[in-house]
């Protein structure tokens, strides 16, 4: 516990020296966050390896019950991505942000505070501590999103985020109030058996789902996420997508761990929401032209995959099927870790692209692979992992969920497992298309504009964190078995013996074997190809055109066009297609966009309508004091009449 508290302090203090240090503030902050990482990871790994005294608690007499902070396996597990990404992001920030803008010290300070809030949040075991850390996290993240507040787009994104996060918090207040009333404790405690099936249990489930769903970006509560992720500085986007969203999942995991007997339909709701988020998330990603918005929609997709796992686990728990429970929960938890690694990696490499070219627009990039080989490699690893392709980490977590769903098929006429299977298969195929599009549009082919042609490789201080994350993705993918004992301990929190049997999954060892064989084969074939003599410096053979140029290339939009058109019933793309007519048509522009359905078609118009409606009431608020006094008088009169009568 001491180590963990020290890590908390180090993170909180990381930005403070920078307030008066002119020169080395950034390095000091990185150093302190590194220290926090080492201390925190030490504490977490001690808990996860199941050493003596698996959980630490900090008690205070006045607040009573279980303690304020408890580092149990769940906390330790969620602390890992927080600490790793916080350090990687800060290091990356040295190259990405420092010296670019005037508000660097403030950004650094808030970044440290955000990390501290996250560290506090994962270990919180008291309602008050949890809510305080939650609110601190929300506000710190708001300030970070607003880092470039001179741009109107950023300000809009920031306000949307603030409104969304507070709406979510409102639900959490209700949920925790109800929880405290039903359990009679202000600490975290298990619900009594039988409560989940009652009205109070249903209300708790709904409130927590709404509250945490907002933070996790579950469709349709996701609408704050794409603008906020696009507007924030890239290392902040990485932290937001990799870690902040997961706090919603952490909340759900905590809640599910308190419920001994979830009704069957809870799992169904989780699966349905997961399928919706997963499929629509990736579908919307396909329609995006903005690299960071595209990645943000993929976060929604991955939250969907995590929910599919959680739903599967919950179904297993309700049905008393340990295999579904174990594999679902373990898959969901592992995907939490995996997603934070590969999405962090993707956001960092997207930031390197933005840093080098000044644009996030896929249609203006291209051909960066030759100028930024390391960044392109990092992005490729991230894409590979997020598509769930072997032998990287994304495959392992999806494999666990698949396995659980396949096993669940054996159980009578359950419809949910097949929903999970189909969603995962479709999500995988669409994600593959989307990342092929993104990677190719940015890094392959010819540069489409000058921005791409004059790009430069990111500095080493930005590449290093990307390398760390990429290696982590590879390590988990190649040797997943090493992770299983720890994962089992975390899953145990979600239900009795949920982690049982994970280590004995024979497939995990075989996956390592196939991964190694794959690598070896690729190496051999590569060696065979490499020394091929080359036949000169030639252009791409484009059916006889002597000078193929970037204007003839397939763009990201044209690549995704078939799928977007196939999915137009869900996406409602807005297409501007001027009619080309006559023998000598004028130059013409084609444009297509996929606006967010919730934000652009539901939330914004309905809020605008509310504002208009409110304007009608303004007649009553003229600003004249005598009129207000008249209101008071009239009210008193009405009250008097009412009381007398």
């Amino acid at each position: 516990m001491k180590l963990y508290l020290l890590a908390l302090l180090a993170a909180a203090a990381s930005g403070v020296p920078g307030l008066w240090m002119r020169r080395r503030g950034g390095e000091v902050a990185v150093g302190l966050l590194g220290l926090a990482g080492v201390l925190g990871l030490g504490a977490s790994l001690a808990v996860l390896s199941g050493g003596p005294g698996g959980s630490f608690a900090l008690r205070t007499a006045s607040l009573g019950t279980p303690g304020l902070l408890v580092v149990d396996p769940v906390a330790a597990f969620f602390a890992i991505p927080v600490l790793v990404l916080a350090f990687c992001g800060a290091l990356y920030g040295l190259g990405y942000w420092e010296g670019r803008r005037g508000n660097t010290p403030a950004l650094r300070l808030v970044y440290g505070l955000l990390v501290a809030c996250l560290v506090l949040l994962v270990a919180a075991s008291h309602i008050l501590v949890f809510l305080l850390a939650w609110e601190g996290m929300a506000i710190a993240a708001f300030l970070l999103v607003m880092a470039e507040d001179r741009e109107a787009e950023t300000r809009r994104a920031g306000w949307i985020y603030l409104v969304a996060t507070h709406t979510g918090t409102l639900f959490l207040f209700g949920a925790f109030a109800l929880l405290a009333r039903t359990t009679g404790q202000s600490g975290f405690a298990a619900l009594p058996v039988g409560l989940a099936a009652t009205g109070a249990g249903t209300a708790l489930f709904a409130l927590f789902l709404l509250g945490f769903g907002f933070k996790a970006g579950v469709l349709p509560l996701h609408f704050w996420l794409p603008p906020a992720h696009a507007a924030a500085p890239s290392h902040v986007s990485a932290l937001m997508s990799g870690v902040l969203l997961k706090m919603g999942i952490l909340g759900l995991v905590r809640f599910l761990s308190w419920v001994p007997d979830p009704p069957l339909w809870w799992g169904g709701v989780l699966v349905a929401l997961g399928a919706l988020s997963g499929l629509l998330g990736v579908a919307f990603a396909l329609g995006q032209h903005d690299l960071k918005r595209l990645l943000a929609y993929h976060s929604i997709e991955n939250i969907g995959i995590i929910l599919l796992g959680l739903g599967l686990g919950t179904l297993g728990k309700s049905l008393g099927n340990p295999v579904m429970q174990t594999l679902g929960y373990a898959g969901a938890l592992l995907h939490v870790l995996n997603h934070s690694l590969f999405k962090g990696l993707l956001f960092l490499s997207a930031g390197a692209v933005l840093h080098a070219t000044g644009t996030r627009d896929l249609e203006r990039l291209g051909g960066l692979g030759q100028r930024m080989p390391w960044t392109s490699g990092a992005f490729l690893v991230g894409s590979w992992a997020i598509c769930g392709l072997p032998p990287l980490n994304g495959f392992v977590s999806e494999w666990l969920i698949y396995l659980g769903a396949f096993r669940g098929l054996g159980l009578g006429r359950q419809a949910w497992p097949v929903v999970i299977l189909l969603s995962l298969a479709l999500i995988g195929a669409l994600a593959l298309a989307c990342f092929a599009k993104a990677f190719a549009a940015v890094f392959l082919g010819l540069p489409r504009t000058g921005a791409g042609a004059h790009a430069h490789e990111a500095p080493r201080v930005m590449l290093l964190p990307m390398g760390v994350l990429a290696l982590a993705c590879l390590a988990i993918g190649v040797a997943p078995l090493l992770l299983m004992p720890a994962l089992g301990r975390v899953a145990d929190a979600l239900g009795p013996a949920a982690g049982a049997g994970l280590s004995s999954l024979g497939g995990l060892g075989a996956i390592s074997g196939v991964a190694l064989a794959l690598g070896l084969l690729a190496l051999l074939l590569w060696r065979w190809l490499r020394p091929v003599p080359q036949a000169g410096d030639l252009p791409t053979w484009d059916c006889g055109y002597a000078a193929p140029d970037a204007r003839m290339e397939y763009t990201a939009s044209s690549f995704a066009d078939g799928l977007v058109r196939g999915l137009r019933w869900a996406l409602w793309p807005v297409v501007h297609r001027p009619k080309v007519s006559g023998w000598f048509p004028r130059p013409s522009r084609y444009e297509s966009q996929v606006p967010d359905p919730v934000l652009d078609r539901a939330a914004t118009p309905s809020l605008r309508l509310t504002v208009k409606g409110a304007a009608l009431l303004r007649v009553a608020q003229g600003g004249a004091l005598p009129v207000y006094l008249l209101y008071v008088l009239l009210t008193l009169l009405v009250l008097l009449v009412w009381m007398v009568a």
């Binding site: 598509c387 097949v418 479709l426 392959l444």
Partner: protein
């Protein structure tokens, strides 16, 4: 111990040799069938072996637009195909590697090959290859559910998750061919034709037409990389072929009989593909999704039949 191990090693060895040596025969058989059906003599059955040998000695042409990603497609295609070939049983001879859940790894290895092929096509910056890559990504999104629904139905029928056992449909050959199995196989044959870029989805013999998918993606490959592409494509014919053949094959008592049955069936499959290609034209591009949806529906119905 040694005695019981030896046959396994022999089987594995035979499996490996089959995977390495046999695939180029299949396109040859298909081409020969088509030629005979059309009343031509056609190229020799071993033509692809000659082609591969020739390409392996040739210099390669690389466009100046391409990077190392251009080679990742051919390398990844063959490496993933070989890895997947270890997981699938050839007829009723067991696969060298078999574990619970290998079916998912099997499907995703082909996903990996597809991903790298698409990237390698887009690396050239050619609009034709972009077009092919986009189509590949689009159509595979429809083929994937058909494949997985088939797996789900088989998993339900056999309560197993390993290709080695789930493809072995229960019952004797006569009782096996009931509704579900026929539907699964029908759906998978559609996936087979689409994934292997065969008529009616795609035509591997034309190399420059706007209605193509797979061949247009490898337009710029030459020399050794192209040899890998061709070998990878024929490997896919074999490995996916084993997937659809196994549930439909009779089980023999002796290992050698099983092998014999498998080889014969493989030849039959190639001839069958040749017959399909000779008897129908390629669909218009807009019809392809409908064809694939038919595959999804067939496997979906198979799964529903398994539930009742």
């Amino acid at each position: 111990m040694v005695r019981s191990l030896l046959p396994t090693i022999l089987q594995t060895l035979l499996h490996g040799l089959t995977v390495l040596l046999l695939p180029p025969l299949l396109p040859g058989l298909i081409a020969k069938t088509k030629a005979l059906m059309a009343g031509r003599q056609g190229p020799p059955v071993l033509q692809l072996y000659y082609d591969l040998a020739k390409l392996a000695r040739k210099r390669a042409v690389f466009s100046r637009t391409t990077s190392w990603v251009f080679l990742a497609g051919p390398v990844g295609g063959v490496a993933a195909g070989l890895a997947a070939s270890c997981l699938v049983p050839f007829g009723h001879t067991p696969a060298p590697v078999s574990f619970e859940g290998d079916v998912i790894l099997f499907a995703y290895l082909f996903g990996l090959a597809r991903f790298l092929t698409i990237l390698s096509a887009l690396d050239t910056g050619s609009s034709f290859e972009g077009m092919g890559a986009a189509r590949e990504a689009t159509f595979s999104a429809l083929a994937e559910p058909a494949l997985f629904l088939g797996f789900a139905a088989l998993a339900k029928a056999t309560s197993s998750l390993s290709l080695g056992t789930m493809l072995v449909f229960p019952g004797s050959l006569a009782t096996r061919f009931t509704g579900p199995l026929i539907l699964i196989l029908a759906g998978w044959v559609i996936v087979y034709l689409a994934e292997n870029s065969r008529i009616p989805v795609d035509d591997p013999n034309t190399h420059l037409e706007l209605t193509m998918i797979h061949e247009v993606m490898v337009l710029d490959h030459s020399g050794r990389p192209f040899a890998l592409v061709l070998y990878g494509a024929s490997l896919k014919l074999l490995v996916l072929g084993a997937l659809i053949l196994t549930p439909a094959l009779p089980r023999a008592a002796q290992a050698w009989q099983n092998w014999l049955v498998f080889y014969l069936a493989l030849g039959g499959l190639a001839v069958g593909v040749g017959l399909v290609e000779s008897s129908m034209a390629r669909f218009r591009m807009t019809k392809v999704p409908q064809f694939l949806v038919a595959g999804v529906l067939a496997t979906g119905f198979a799964f529903l039949l398994m539930l009742v």
